[in-house]
């Protein structure tokens, strides 16, 4: 039997259902403003650029570049040791989207600032949620 997943998981708060439904299908959707066309990450009720509430969950490329990362040896309870936490800047513009997440399936020695990364999803065993991760593209 595999170890239970004991890291914190998103609560799926009201209004975020489309994000988690897409994640379950391993698709990345991000709010895009219908008024000004800008992307917004993390999701907020209003667009950061024009404050419109008319935002639509829109498929994003899921590709970007590695800004920075840390190989964490001393993690909170429930985390494997080590794990890698990173910031990835997606290709979408004009407003840049920097996502925080864990890197999987990529040798640590291959990590380089600016390398191409892609968003993948992990179905969490025995939980009703899939979480985005990054791996080398």
């Amino acid at each position: 039997m595999s170890e239970p997943y004991l890291r914190p998981l998103p609560a799926k708060s009201p209004g975020t259902e489309p994000f988690w439904e897409a994640a379950a299908e391993h698709r990345l959707v991000i709010p895009k403003c219908n008024n000004c066309g800008d992307w917004n990450w993390i999701p907020y009720p209003g667009c950061r650029t024009c404050l419109s509430e008319d935002q639509v969950w829109t498929p994003a490329s899921g590709y970007g570049t590695l800004m920075t990362w840390s190989i964490v040896s001393r993690g909170p309870p429930g985390f494997p040791s080590p794990y890698v936490t990173a910031l990835v800047e997606l290709d979408e513009r004009p407003r840049s989207i920097v996502m925080l997440g864990n890197i999987v399936d990529t040798p640590h020695e291959d990590l380089k600032v600016g390398m191409r990364m892609q968003v993948v999803f992990e179905d969490i065993a025995d939980e009703d949620i899939s979480i985005w991760r990054f791996k080398a593209a």
């Binding site: 004991l6 890291r7 914190p8 998981l9 190989i71 909170p76 309870p77 985390f79």
Partner: protein, 387 residues
């Protein structure tokens, strides 16, 4: 309208014991700190009419509960914020007649920030959808990522940043109240060979995670002149934020335009009328070495990318151009959860001439930078002076 320089002063400061696992409550530590700081000033609890708690979350009912605790006299100035920014805002509120005696305070017991303080669960806990802990990005991890980005962008050696840990420890050895001072001095090799925490950071590049309380009393000019200790005048300051808390960043992360720290630094130098060369002693928020490097750059003490060189040159060390964090700072004195007022307390003691072995000779003008809640995301500056 100009900032009301010298219309209010820090008249009382107090630190409780700082340490791991204190058998106390946060409330008890705060109460001890408030009583201690008022006693340091020679003021009575019933003279307090302004409250700025430094709690993690500060709903108005927190101010109301403390109003009750302090005896139930109307409190007429209720604010939130970070240590140095709170000092500046208290001074402005006092000048506007909103209060005369404002207490800035914080206490923490058994509620650490680090991974060791997180609870073990039998089932995955549910948190806010975009919470950083989903990705294990506790504070050291965020600052590790910032350190790597900084070293890459400016071709900075980690050993040069680590010089800050060495300076902080040296200062702590001169501060009997510090947690790490009794362990003695360390070298850059000690830092680089200490246990890896979140690469590239090692244990000795990370802050302490302990309990403790503190309080700062700011009072109007007429009251300040009659207090027990010499008043430390507030010359200027400001507070700013530019981002949500540890959940997202804007790209580029480190830019010439700067953000919250750059803004408050510019405002504080302008509204105090003080220049960089006039600062005799400083308290620079120092949760990690890179934070200090970036503080120096954003406040204009050096150019972007030159913060590590400034540290390596020894300018922050006692005897240097601008001795900073002379208590040992957050790495070697105390990081008590929200230590944003700690730097101000040490600079006030320096300007009073109370620092004994670690006293900066003839310190007349000091600057403090509080930071926190996100990587350089919330910042406050106060510039203060002795008579």
């Amino acid at each position: 309208m100009a900032f009301p320089s010298r219309k209010a002063a820090v008249v009382g400061v107090y630190l409780t014991e700082q340490g791991r696992g204190l058998p106390r409550t946060a409330w008890s530590l705060e109460l001890e700190a408030i009583k201690g700081a008022l006693d340091d000033a020679g003021l009575r609890p019933d003279q307090v009419d302004g409250l700025i708690p430094m709690a993690y979350v500060t709903p108005l009912n927190l101010h109301m509960a403390w109003t009750e605790q302090l005896g139930g006299k109307p409190i007429t100035y209720l604010d939130v914020g970070s240590g140095a920014g709170a000092v500046a805002k208290a001074a402005a509120a006092i000048d506007a007649g909103l209060c005369k005696v404002c207490v800035i305070y914080f206490g923490n017991a058994n509620n650490g920030n680090g991974p060791g303080a997180q609870k073990r669960h039998d089932k995955a806990p549910r948190v806010d959808d975009w919470d950083y802990m989903v990705h294990g990005a506790y504070m050291s991890v965020w600052y590790a990522m910032w350190t790597r980005a900084y070293m890459h962008q400016f071709n900075v050696r980690q050993e040069d940043l680590a010089e800050y840990s060495v300076i902080a420890r040296y200062h702590a050895t001169l501060n009997p109240a510090s947690i790490m001072g009794k362990r003695g001095e360390i070298t850059v090799d000690d830092v680089m060979n200490s246990r890896p925490i979140a690469d590239p950071l090692h244990l000795l590049e990370c802050p302490l995670d302990n309990d403790g309380g503190y309080a700062i009393v700011v009072a109007a000019e007429d009251i300040a002149r009659d207090c027990k200790k010499k008043p430390i005048w507030v010359l200027g300051g400001a507070e700013a934020t530019y981002t949500d808390s540890y959940r997202t960043i804007t790209s580029p992360w480190i830019s010439n335009e700067g953000a919250a720290v750059r803004r408050v630094g510019e405002m504080a130098f302008e509204n105090s009328g003080i220049t960089h060369d006039e600062i005799d002693v400083a308290g620079l928020y120092d949760c990690f070495p890179v934070t200090v490097a970036r503080d120096l750059e954003e406040l204009g003490f050096c150019k972007l990318g030159e913060g590590a060189d400034y540290i390596k040159a020894g300018h922050l060390r006692l005897g240097g151009k601008m001795p900073s964090n002379t208590d040992g700072g957050l790495l070697s004195h105390s990081h008590n959860g929200n230590p944003s007022g700690m730097h101000t307390i040490e600079v006030v003691k320096q300007l009073r001439g109370e620092c004994g072995e670690r006293q900066v000779p003839d310190a007349k003008i000091g600057l403090t930078l509080a930071q926190g809640w996100a990587v350089h995301g919330l910042a406050g500056v106060a510039i203060m002076a002795a008579d």
